[in-house]
């Protein structure tokens, strides 16, 4: 357990090493990056195996940082952060495996990538709002460079939009936190202390602070109607960055909502939760329908991410132990599934066919040209549709059950989203991989697809895909491995107060 903070330092150190290694050759840089990610992943797995679930955060390190302002460098973990840290470890390793073909400025690429990972680890481990915020900002900056330098389709636009939304969100968070800090007597940014102070705030203060902090974080979690950065950002990003964006960065937002906004301002949560739930439901259905008519493969996945993140937000808004544990499970599940989907689209398909237009892909019998990619996508697609046996099923089911407890109406409308998910997933699966060859004349298939067989799927891609598939299936069959961490964490007094609507 106590080794967990090392994940942050290893990642930052690895970033520097990768930058240096990049001077020599791209190959060295990627080996360094992979070793770094593997090391921190191993640390998280080791910590997970030692973890004793219990209520409340288990402090890992707590040192005064800026004592004048009561800011502590306070890192701690509970079952919820552990779940997300394990996810980060998995996503980091597989992301590097799917970036194995980066040749252009590989050192910088992997340095930025690892810096982003370090920031993400930091957010999930922070128990001090200020520390959390700093790591949160650290995670935003590399995203911009990754997209703007190594991205595709309208990359500057996508990168800029993402950064604008992120900073706008973090400005709201910061404003809310400072307000709470000041109102609480400017003693401490510690999450526990803030929550204690918040208990004495007036109702209006709580409502306002919650609104600022929650909204600020929820922007990054893709809350409708502030989700529009997500599809463009995902599409513009290079594969590894899309995987991280959808897989981990969106979870930063959701995690912030849960850990900071909900735990600190229970009265605000009780007031705002119906609105959040309805926005989440609209997001689920709306993004699903929009995904249904996209012509660009990656946009379909981008919108499906927004739709699935809607379930996370719904689970949080339903604010009972079942729904929230479902939301955390869904964060993990979606992180893995979305990572896999983006890997197939961005790396396996796009870099071989050089098109993401469904109309073009339709004319290529991709399931024959790249059966491994087809199989991976079918598995990930099934998981994304909520098929039993994969992690998406227990996660979304738990959220629906929890949402029903709070309001059966929410469960009813959100379940429509599951239906739509089947529709858009099957559509894209069929069109892109099992496109019709009937009726297309041989000449109408672009000649180069027939002349040159596509480059075979590399070992790195296979390893990355198998890693994520294994996680997806394992959690799908044994969801209690994660729920046994998550559920006790929700027993902490902080969460109990929040889940009871602030009536402590």
């Amino acid at each position: 357990m106590n080794a967990l903070p090392c994940t942050i330092y290893i990642s930052f150190l690895g970033a520097l090493l990768a930058l240096g290694a990049g001077m020599r050759s791209a190959a060295t840089a990627r080996v360094v990056a992979l070793l770094t990610a593997l090391t921190s992943c191993t640390v998280t797995f080791y910590a997970a195996s030692q973890f004793v679930p219990g209520p409340g955060l288990q402090t890992l390190i707590d040192k005064p940082w800026i004592p004048q302002m009561g800011i502590h460098y306070h890192l701690a973990a509970d079952g919820i952060s552990l779940t997300l840290i394990v996810l980060t470890g998995l996503a980091a390793v597989s992301g590097i495996l799917f970036s194995w073909n980066i040749e252009e400025r590989a050192g910088e690429f992997f340095a930025l990538y690892l810096a982003l990972i370090g920031g993400v680890y930091g957010v999930f481990l922070s128990a001090d709002a200020f520390t959390l915020f700093v790591f949160y900002e650290i995670a935003i900056v590399p995203k911009y460079f990754l997209i703007a330098n190594w991205g595709s389709t309208k990359r500057e636009y996508g990168a800029m939009k993402l950064v604008l939304y992120s900073f706008a969100g973090s400005a709201l968070v910061l404003a809310g936190l400072l307000w709470a800090y000041a109102a609480g007597g400017a003693h401490s940014f510690g999450l526990g202390e803030l929550a204690q102070a918040a208990a004495h705030f007036s109702r209006h203060e709580q409502l306002g602070m919650f609104a600022l902090v929650f909204l600020g974080f929820a922007v990054l979690a893709g809350l409708f109607p502030f989700h529009t950065w997500a599809p463009t950002g995902h599409v513009a990003a290079p594969t590894a960055a899309s995987m991280l964006l959808a897989g981990v960065v969106m979870k930063l937002g959701a995690y912030g909502c849960l850990r900071v906004a909900m735990a600190t301002f229970p009265v605000g949560l009780a007031f705002w939760s119906p609105l959040i739930a309805w926005l989440a439901i609209i997001g689920i259905v709306y993004a699903g329908l929009v995904a249904l008519v996209q012509q660009d493969f990656k946009f379909v996945i981008g919108y499906s991410s927004v739709s699935h993140m809607g379930f996370v937000l719904l689970g949080l808004a339903a604010a009972n132990a079942t729904a929230v544990s479902g939301a955390v499970l869904q964060m993990f599940s979606h992180g893995v599934i979305a990572g896999l989907l983006f890997a197939v689209v961005g790396r396996m398909v796009y870099e071989r066919t050089h098109t993401r237009q469904l109309a073009d892909l339709r004319t290529m019998p991709l399931h024959r040209l790249m059966p491994f990619a087809a199989m991976t996508f079918v598995l990930a697609g099934l998981a994304s549709m909520g098929m039993p046996g994969f992690s998406g099923f227990p996660a979304e089911l738990t959220i629906l059950i929890g949402a029903w407890k709070t309001s059966p109406k929410w469960a009813l409308f959100a379940a429509v989203g599951v239906l739509i998910a089947a529709a858009f997933t099957l559509r894209v699966m069929q069109v892109s991989f099992f496109g019709t060859t009937e009726g297309t004349k041989p000449g109408s298939i672009p000649a180069h697809h027939l002349d040159h067989p596509m480059a075979p799927i590399t070992w790195a891609e296979r390893a990355g895909a198998l890693l994520l598939i294994a996680a997806m299936v394992y959690v799908g069959l044994k969801p209690d491995i994660l729920l046994n961490w998550i559920t006790p964490a929700l027993q902490s007094p902080l969460f109990q107060t929040a889940l009871k609507g602030g009536a402590s």
Binding site: L164, L174, V290, L412
Partner: protein, 629 residues
């Protein structure tokens, strides 16, 4: 007691063997087509063997373990092996084995045989899961999995656009039903605190069950999807795009019957209003599908509509509910609906699988000709197929002393006793049934060949004919409950049996019905390449075709005109969101975007982000300063 434990040990095998077979095929044998086929058939043979052995030992047991605990909400996986499950498992095992063997011959030259057999094994796994499930939730898990296997197998020839569309349609239509099913399960859990069948029954005995009309109706939604009842029946005729053995196994004998099985499982939750809805849904489906079947030209489509119609019979039988009978002077209320529905499910599984495999044999013999008006004269070319198919037809139209006769009579009697209106509709449906089945039989087998394909028709090999013979035997004897050892008594004792005057009425009715329907068909249809009904009564024919098309039209309209357009509209709004608001609305931000782009261009990207960090710090300082007061 010790032996019971031993038999619980068998259960994981029966469930896991097909899964292991499917996994082996998917992982290692995708190109080893013949090995894959052999493994899959072996798995099916083992299932059949174990199912029979397990059933005839007479041992019944249940047990389970918790899979997922969410606070006060626990989901468990377990096995409930009672007479109902034993019967269903035997049906799945026997028909499954027949279909596996038949597939060996039918798909011997298929380019994706391994995928096909992998799909079949996957299906067997999921179906057995439904049969053995001890709670509704577990049933739902496997319910979804059979949906997926069905998707895989309908779309087996995915190069054909129609096949992959049909697969998608089947999956999504089923999801619509499952939507209600899932909500029903959650509701049931919150109302009763359990979804375990045994615990629910125990609550029912103690009169402690929370009754509501909504719960059984929501659960029934699942059956409407899976058993293709109105208005979600649209997927089943399209599903005939799949290979014919698949149609026999999944879309006739087992999976589509799972809806009826599920209803029998949750019988304890039923209330009169819900039963009423279920009864009428089944009745309307029965008559509607029978009317549709009359105009079909495709041999498989006729059978598909016939399946719909027979499923309607089963659902209606279930909905007719319990029956008060006089036993030794005491009035007993018997769940006759369950008995009649399951009885018909059993006999139907045999004779419909027989006819589907028979049609497969015909299609195979005629080099993939499926139009019955282009067949004819096959009786001489394919005598064995002819003989067995004739038995199947005789069974479904209710020829006395064949399987269908007994089970249909049980349903008719129950309707006669409980609801005369339903009785009338079901009797008329029976007339139609014998009409369209005899039409099919006459056009396919009698007369002279009407096309090149049927001219050169030939009987298939042993793998094609052996399953036909076995199923034909079962279609003859399957209706005598006496032939089953007492091990299925838990189900068969519930079958309503007419006595005295009611018996005469029912017997006479079904005899007349059969003679009228088949007589009409025999006289009306001439061996010709055009439909005699169409020529003699174009108005009626057109009306029937329109009736058949009406649902498809509505759905197509919904998908193409409403859903698609709505999604396009949202997408349009989204584009405005994406581009419009920022570019036109917030000119300043556009400037920043441009700045960013330019910064990138001159290679000084960092400056821009530093500006942002600077701004953030400024804001922070401002906020602290402002709030410090």
């Amino acid at each position: 007691m010790e032996t019971t434990v031993n038999h619980i040990v068998v259960v994981p095998y029966i469930l896991m063997e097909p899964l292991i077979a499917a996994a082996l095929i998917a992982l290692f044998l995708r190109r080893r087509h013949n090995i894959a086929a052999v493994i899959s058939v072996l798995a099916a043979a083992l299932i059949c063997f174990r199912a029979l052995k397990l059933a005839f030992t007479g041992l019944r047991f249940e047990g389970g373990f918790e899979w997922l605990r969410l606070g006060d909400f626990a989901l468990s996986l377990g096995v409930k092996y009672d007479d109902l499950a034993a019967l269903m498992l035997v049906i799945v095992g026997v028909v499954g084995l027949c279909v596996h063997v038949f597939s060996l011959g039918y798909l011997s030259h298929d380019h994706a045989k391994a995928r096909y057999f992998g799909g079949l094994s996957m299906f067997m796994f999921s179906m057995i899961g439904i049969v053995l499930a001890d709670n509704i939730f577990m049933m739902f898990i496997f319910w979804e999995l059979v949906g997926f296997s069905s998707y895989l197998l309908i779309g087996h020839w995915h190069e054909k656009q129609s096949a992959s569309d049909a697969a998608k349609k089947a999956f999504i239509t089923n999801r619509v039903g499952d939507f209600g099913f899932l909500l029903g399960i959650i509701w049931c859990y919150y109302a009763n605190g359990t979804v375990n069948f045994t615990e629910l029954a125990a609550l029912g005995d103690k009169h402690a069950l929370v009754f509501s009309t909504a719960i059984p109706l929501l659960l029934f939604c699942g059956a409407v999807g899976k058993s293709a009842q109105l208005p979600l029946q649209v997927w089943l005729p399209d599903a005939m795009e799949g290979p014919t053995p698949v149609s026999a196994l999944i879309h006739a004998a087992t999976m589509v019957a799972a809806g009826v099985y599920m209803l029998c499982r949750i019988n304890v939750l039923m209330v009169p209003q819900a039963l009423n809805v279920i009864m009428w849904t089944g009745t309307v489906t029965a008559i509607y599908a029978a009317l549709c079947a009359v105009t079909q030209r495709d041999i498989k489509k006729v059978l598909a509509y016939s399946t719909l119609s027979q499923l309607g019979y089963m659902v209606a039988a279930f909905g007719l509910g319990s029956l008060a009978t006089d036993q030794e002077g005491r009035t007993m209320v018997v769940a006759a609906g369950v008995g009649a529905a399951m009885f018909h499910l059993t006999t139907h599984a045999f004779f419909k699988a027989l006819m589907f495999l028979g049609s497969g044999s015909v299609i195979h013999g005629c080099h993939h000709e499926q139009d019955i008006f282009k067949m004819g004269g096959l009786a001489k070319k394919m005598p064995l197929t002819f003989a067995t198919f004739t038995i199947g037809v005789a069974a479904i139209i209710g020829m006395p002393f064949l399987a269908g006769f007994f089970s249909k009579d049980a349903i008719l009697y129950l309707a006669y006793a409980n609801n005369r209106a339903v009785f009338a509709v079901l009797v008329f449906t029976a007339v139609l049934t014998s009409f369209y089945m005899v039409r099919l039989w006459k056009l396919t087998f009698l007369g002279t060949p009407r096309s090149e394909a049927s001219e050169h028709a030939h009987e298939g090999g042993l793998t094609l004919t052996a399953p036909l013979v076995l199923l034909a035997v079962l279609s003859v004897i399957g209706g005598y409950t006496g032939i089953y050892p007492k091990v299925f008594n838990g189900v068969f004792e519930l079958i309503p049996e007419a006595h005295g005057s009611a018996h005469t009425v029912i017997f006479a009715t079904s005899l007349v019905v059969m003679l009228v329907g088949s007589g009409l068909a025999l006289t009306l249809y001439n061996p010709a390449v055009t439909d005699s009904l169409e020529q003699k009564s174009p108005g009626l024919f057109a009306a029937l075709v329109a009736l058949k098309n009406s649902f498809d039209r509505v759905y197509d309209y919904y998908v193409a005109k409403i859903q698609q357009r709505f999604a396009m509209l949202l997408n349009f709004l989204e584009q405005i969101f994406l581009a419009g608001v920022i570019i036109r609305g917030l000119a300043g931000l556009v400037g920043l975007v441009g700045l960013g782009a330019r910064a990138l261009h001159v290679g000084n990207l960092n400056a821009y982000v530093y500006w942002f960090l600077f701004g953030a710090v400024l804001l922070w300082a401002y906020a602290t300063g402002a709030l410090a007061f």
